[in-house]
Assembly symmetry: C2
DNA sequence: TTTATTTTCGTGCACGTGCACGAAAATTTT
DNA sequence: AAAATTTTCGTGCACGTGCACGAAAATAAA
């Protein structure tokens, strides 16, 4: 059908062929009613026949609305996990700035659900055309998602997603699998019988957060270990990220008590917290695996303190989310898949360049 | 300076403040001369003061020109290396189709420089606004690049790049490093003394191509091996991709003669050519490393025939190239870096999902 | 039928930029 | 100084869509 004879088909062409005015064509294009059934059918048919496609530029030019894509985020220091999310969002923002779409970030205190709600209200007031929504406090996130649904504002989950199905898209990571992969990489060079045990370092107050996605990662890890090294011990050590000296002392104590253990993992993004201890206590047999491409992690990898980093493009998630929303705003196109799981990158000191 | 009080600054605003007409402002915006020095300076100053930024939509709407981004490629069967380049290019094309930028591919026979020149002429005749240019025949590519330069058409090298500096951008891979990484991954689990040797499988007629980028990769590989396994042998086996049965026979013969060798690498994208032999001759000690995310390679990885695939986003290269060019056409923005080296992904059967 | 109401539809302007045309101003030539 | 030429600049329309306004047509109420 598609008429590909150089000239672009416009609304006027459709109108003429359908024997109506371009106003009417516009009405059916945007489903805004007030068109008789006969006209509508005729117009739809002509649109198909001619293969009409709207001109994005003319459309955006005519539609004066100023578009805003918003994001709600925990306030965070530089080089934090959430900072990566933020960076990706902002990168996307730069990319679409010239398309007259602005971005706004609403920050909250990750230890105060109250502040989340407040930020959520402000976000709604800004009347965005799309929202990037990393769930944090489950119930409050759900409330916010509902409010957005009600207003017809598309929202994209990143990081993890809630069970509601009203989201526009999701960009996240296969947490369970990442844990499984982590276990495998950790034990790559270890024959079955030699593995004495593994130390899992955890953050003491992560219990606070209602739903911790790293739990799934831990499950994946434990399952692999149970399958392949059933007799090896998994030790847990809880550290306080705000007390680096305590951390170092704890690690010292632990490894004095368990001289046979050389394998360490952390399931969140903060493996760099171990850097101090690791650099002061070299061990040729040691293997350390961590997650996420924080700058500090990457430099720890480069300098050999840790061995492997499993990266899941935390920043790409929010970047993709922004781009998906802007594509929807500009071209009215939905992403190919609604739920998108990111690829896991294995980073070692050898392939860390150009990352 | 930037006036951020909601209203967008237009050319008319600039014109009024500079005491000229918008036609004149347009002239300085596009450097098309015919403007007195005094006016020009005044206008430039006002533009800075007001922080004027052109409206992309209005600009593209007014400028009727139909933009084409072209690519010159070896004709290839599906699931070939060059097919990946093509897929990336086409994916980019889909993405910008709604922005009224078309893509065109000019194919040539990779065994005929003559056909390359012909395709190049056709490409020039299509008068593209930008070109994605994977070098193949060195001299002819250089000639084509020159012709493009002369016409002011930006061209982006992908895959590898020539020494001229006229290119708009480059998206490629650190070949040497990929070889080095390959060697390391191949020998990950092998103690120094146990490695008897490695088999390098090569394509018999790759000598034909004037500059073969995989040579660098081979250098990286050999350097690593010389450093870490100085006493191990590197065997070369030349196969003909069009004679699968010969290949299998050659491999059989080789491994009968060298029972101690279990490590295989191929430096091009065709490690899948070994699949038949590998599946019919299982060897628990075997390690196979290959390159590039061809579908056949990926399925060989999934089914455990090969162990590691080093991927360099062959498709992303051409995709990025298209996007960079379209960004330039639409927003007049150049990429952040001129030369972009892609990241190397390490793929195992464990992290191959969602790739 | 006449009037009132609702449904359907056409007209025309605005969005901001690019560019062609030709006029005005400046400069050179006669 | 007048004419010819060159330089500089202003005017106005086109691009294709969205949307407001009000007219025409269809339907309902009188």
């Amino acid at each position: 059908m598609e008429e590909e004879n150089n000239k672009k088909i416009t609304i006027a062409d459709v109108a003429k062929l359908a024997g109506v005015s371009k106003g009417t064509v516009d009405r059916v294009l945007h489903d805004r009613g007030g068109v008789s059934r006969k006209s509508m059918e005729k117009i739809r048919q002509v649109i198909d026949e001619l293969g009409y496609e709207p001109n994005v530029y003319a459309s955006m030019l005519a539609m004066r609305k100023e578009h805003v894509i918003a994001c709600i985020l925990p306030d965070s220091i530089k080089d934090d996990y959430w900072y990566l999310v933020r960076e990706g969002f902002e990168k996307g923002g730069e990319n679409i700035a010239s398309m007259n779409i602005r971005t706004r970030i609403f920050l909250y205190d990750q230890y105060s659900p109250e502040s989340f709600r407040k930020a959520g209200m402000q976000l709604l007031e800004s009347n965005p055309s799309g929202v990037v929504l990393p769930p944090f406090f489950k119930n409050d996130t759900y409330t916010l998602a509902n409010a957005l649904s009600l207003r017809g504002i598309p929202y994209v989950y990143v990081d993890s997603k809630l069970e509601d199905d009203g989201h526009f898209a999701y960009y996240g990571m296969p947490m369970y699998k990442s844990g499984y992969l982590c276990a495998r990489l950790l034990t790559l060079r270890v024959p079955q019988k030699q593995l004495k045990g593994v130390l899992v370092v955890r953050i003491i107050r992560d219990k606070m957060r209602q739903s911790d996605p790293t739990l799934n990662r831990r499950s994946g890890f434990l399952d692999y270990m149970a399958e392949h090294y059933p007799s090896s011990d998994i030790h847990n050590l809880f550290i306080d990220p705000q007390a680096p000296k305590d951390t170092e002392r704890q690690l010292n104590t632990f490894f004095k008590a368990h001289p046979g253990i050389h394998h360490i993992v952390m399931f969140n993004s903060r493996v760099h917290l171990l850097s101090d201890y690791l650099s002061r206590n070299p061990d040729p047999d040691r293997v350390v695996v961590g997650f996420d491409n924080l700058e500090k992690n990457i430099s720890a990898l480069s300098s050999g303190l840790i061995n492997i980093l499993i990266c899941q493009h935390t920043d790409l998630q929010s970047y993709n989310a922004v781009m998906a929303l802007s594509d929807y705003i500009i071209k009215h196109k939905r992403p190919e898949r609604k739920d998108n799981f990111m690829h896991m990158d294995i980073l070692t000191s050898l392939n860390i360049d150009n990352y």
